[in-house]
Amino acid sequence: MKKFDHLTKNAAGRIVPAEINGEKHIPYKGVGKYIPDGRKHAPRIASCTNYPDDGNKIVANLKEALIKAGLKDGMTISTHHHFRNGDVISNQIFDIAYELGVKNLRWFPSASFPCHEPIIKHLKDGTINRIEGSLNGPLGKFCSEGKMQGLGVLRSHGGRYQAVQDGEVQIDIAIIAAPSADPFGNANGVNGPAACGLLGFALADSQYADKVIVVTDNLVPFPCIPWQIHGNYVDHVVQVEKVGIPEKIISGTTQITKSPDRLLIAELTAKFCDAAGIIRDGFSYQAGAGGTSLSIGIYFGDILRERGWKARFIRAGSNKYPVQMLEEGLVDYILDGQTFDLEGVRSMRENPNHINTSPFTSYNYHGKGNFSTMVDVVVLGATEVDINFNANVVTHSDGYLLHGIGGWQNCLFSKCTILPIPLFRDRIPVIKDEVTTICGPGELIDVIVTERGIAINPLRKDLLEKVKNTDLPIKTIEELKDEAEQICGKPAKPDLCDEVVAVIKWVDGTVIDAVWKVKSGQ
């Protein structure tokens, strides 16, 4: 099986393979241009007579559960990332697979973290053929250097749901690590020593996988309430000593930034939103977990409080800052995709207005609508942006694949997408002639806010008009690029090989870009 074949130019002007890991894929056609037909994928029919009447699906350990689930060569194994860098189960799964001599697996996580570095040995020994999911840090480096047997496939959170729903990825065994579960398989993320808030990223896996294993360190008698994951989808339940490392589940980036430069960017972003009339009574926004995004949320809160306004909802990654706003009455609802700290977990457990969501409600391409298009403003990060407003969130300017897409692509569909980013990092300009990898097409990216000026996408004449008589430092994106190059110099292009190591999927399942192998020893 070839890693990739049939290189073609897609609608974004990028060369991408139309054959990936032996399967046909469709090159990107443009935003909203690909409308597939047919019926959704469905898992095998189950019959309740095959399951115990007493509801007890407990098996002795993870190994036995995997054997019972029929683990064999070439299967697709899925996991979720609600435990972030505190996930201990994924590594165990592949240690067991290795021990059983199973080969050629496809790992389909909703995201990977530096704690998954041990997986590299199983990529080397052939237990795992490839990862389809975010490739962070060490795994990304490994993939960038062309060392992964199969081709990496990166999807957004919404794109992952899409791929599961339309059968592009058929999960053989889903392993759902859960902070709380009962013997029937009902599970949630709000209770237990490894509480992580919710389990939304595992929802599609529970519904569509052929076999589902729930693993918990907090087994409660039936019923486990709330049942964020329904036991009716679950085959086996495994009790372990530890399902995740609590202190690593809390994301390290959930403090507001102390950097004066980033605070300035946050302040400018909030001022821009105010000047453009985006902040109003009843508006909605998405705040990420990065330090700059959190600070923007603080500025939004200040404006709401001062004017006696209230936001209708915050789309989150939640932590203590949006929770404070909810409890202060500055917002009606938090629609939460993942909780980043214990305050977020507590709020989700106690407050009925703190809602757990899944990529289905927020991002899914095959839904009859989703709420990403209804959010008034989202603030997102990026590693690079180009003069056509195309943005990159997965590779660095030196060509290395170091980050996942997360919900980033899906969020671009909001009414106003703002990227607050520094103009350069150390000596590396963030605004370029052409991004190393396109993750988001420029037509969906409206505003770039840097510490040295704000560039508005010329397509957004309305925004340009609204801020034209303010004292905001509005510049063209070309001016910003020139300013960065004046300070840093013009960087050389990385010398990349002719070999694709990973592809970036668009939210509809088409291939928007390819990641090329970096030359080692550079």
Partner: protein
């Protein structure tokens, strides 16, 4: 060029938390040509540029045989050049200076009575803190060669500060350098006087004689290098002796445009502790304000050191302003906005100034020699002061330029 006895030297910084800097070690060898070992976090993007730059600098200083190891954490061009020149000059004697042209953005002068609400202190040998200083819009940026630079780093810091004055965009802020105490401070001057400095801060100043020494040296350098343009002085009073001599220092030379007080050192000199209410320094600060007014120059207050306490900063500024200070130092960019907001004239002051300026205009139009407001006669200094308040209000965005046209 002549070689010194030592054959190996280093300059710059490396290690955890170091960004936008580089560490260079260089060894002069008799033969074997040039060998450059570069490790850089921006190697793929700028590796070739960096090697070319190093080679160019070596050629400039006629160095033909050397081993050079560079550990780069994303240093900008002028930083690399400063580190290279420092390491080279530790190894050889040379009068040559490797300089890039002064960037156009920095080709501005300041005036003696420029607005000096805020001046941001930055350590002169820490590139990553310097790079973005200007975007926070302080009135002045101080590159510090004194307390913020370790003794063994003072030499290399001079090159970095020199290059920054020429090639770092200050975004309109006054380019200030705090030199070392005399006599070392006199040596610092040759790195800054020909290189675009606007104002020099003289720490721990105790006498008019120090001002005279500095001005003498400045004039010498200006003459040899044919430098035009004003260079202002802001002596810092930081000792009991300095306080006693404040007025003679204020009047020591026409380019002394402001006096600042440094309370950490001052309270240490008194053998007491700095307190929030500042009783221990009240006399000294008040004396400084009075001396400055008498000499017709600006009085600048000490820094507020708790960068997290914006409320405390605000209260300190309001007291400082009430005493007559025109501005203060700051050690964190987030303090700048608070300083500008609170040293700027408040609404009451602006209203009063508007009335006075209007009365003056009216009197002028009517050809009256005497200005009066209601039943009060207004003296010319009061009018001048009111005009100054209006100017400040406009500069800080509290009043529009055409305020007379607005109702």
């Amino acid at each position: 060029m002549s070689e010194k006895i030592i054959k190996k030297a280093t300059a710059g910084n490396k290690g955890q938390g170091i960004r936008s800097d580089c560490f260079i070690s260089m060894e002069l060898t008799g033969t074997g040509g040039i060998d450059i070992q570069l490790s850089s976090k921006v190697n793929i993007l700028f590796g070739k540029d960096i090697k070319n730059q190093i080679t160019e600098i070596l050629t400039f200083f006629n160095i033909e045989n050397a081993n050079i190891v560079i550990e780069d954490s994303g240093a900008l061009t002028y930083v690399i050049a400063a580190r290279m020149e420092a390491v080279i000059k530790k190894l050889i004697d040379s009068d040559k200076e490797y300089l890039y042209p002064v960037i156009d953005e920095n080709k501005y002068q300041t005036s003696g009575d420029s607005n000096r609400f805020s001046r941001l202190y930055l350590p002169g040998n820490t590139p990553h803190l310097i790079i973005n200083a200007g975007i926070h819009k302080p009135n002045g940026i101080i590159l510090d060669l004194e307390d913020a630079v370790a003794h063994e780093k003072k030499f290399e810091a001079c090159f970095l500060v020199r290059n920054a004055l020429r090639n770092l965009n200050f975004y309109g802020a006054e380019r200030m350098v705090r030199i070392n105490q005399l006599p070392r401070g006199l040596e610092d001057l040759e790195y800054i006087v020909p290189h675009n400095v606007n104002l020099i801060l003289l720490p721990k100043c105790e006498s008019a004689d120090e001002i005279k020494q500095i001005n003498h040296r400045i004039d010498e350098i200006k003459k040899t290098k044919q430098i035009k343009g004003d260079i202002w002085l802001m002596p810092i009073i930081e000792s009991a002796r300095g306080v006693i001599n404040i007025y003679e220092i204020a009047e020591a030379a026409s380019n002394v445009v402001a006096l600042a007080i440094g309370l950490e050192d001052f309270t240490a000199d008194l053998g007491t502790r700095r307190t929030e209410e500042g009783t221990e320094s009240f006399f000294a600060r008040s004396k400084l304000v009075i001396a400055c007014r008498a000499a017709g120059i600006q009085a600048i207050d000490s820094v507020y050191s708790d960068v997290a306490d914006m409320e405390g900063l605000k209260n300190t500024i309001l007291r400082s302003k009430a005493m007559g200070f025109n501005g203060m130092g700051c050690i964190h960019p987030r303090q700048i906005a608070v300083i500008h907001e609170n040293y700027a004239p408040d609404e009451q002051e602006i209203e009063k100034a508007k009335k006075i300026c209007n009365a003056f205009k009216e009197a002028e139009e009517k050809g009256l020699g005497v200005v009066s407001l209601g039943t009060k006669m207004i003296d010319p200094p009061v009018v001048k002061r009111a005009q100054h308040t209006i100017d400040l209000a406009i500069a800080t965005g509290k009043l529009t330029k055409n305020w007379r046209d607005e109702v």
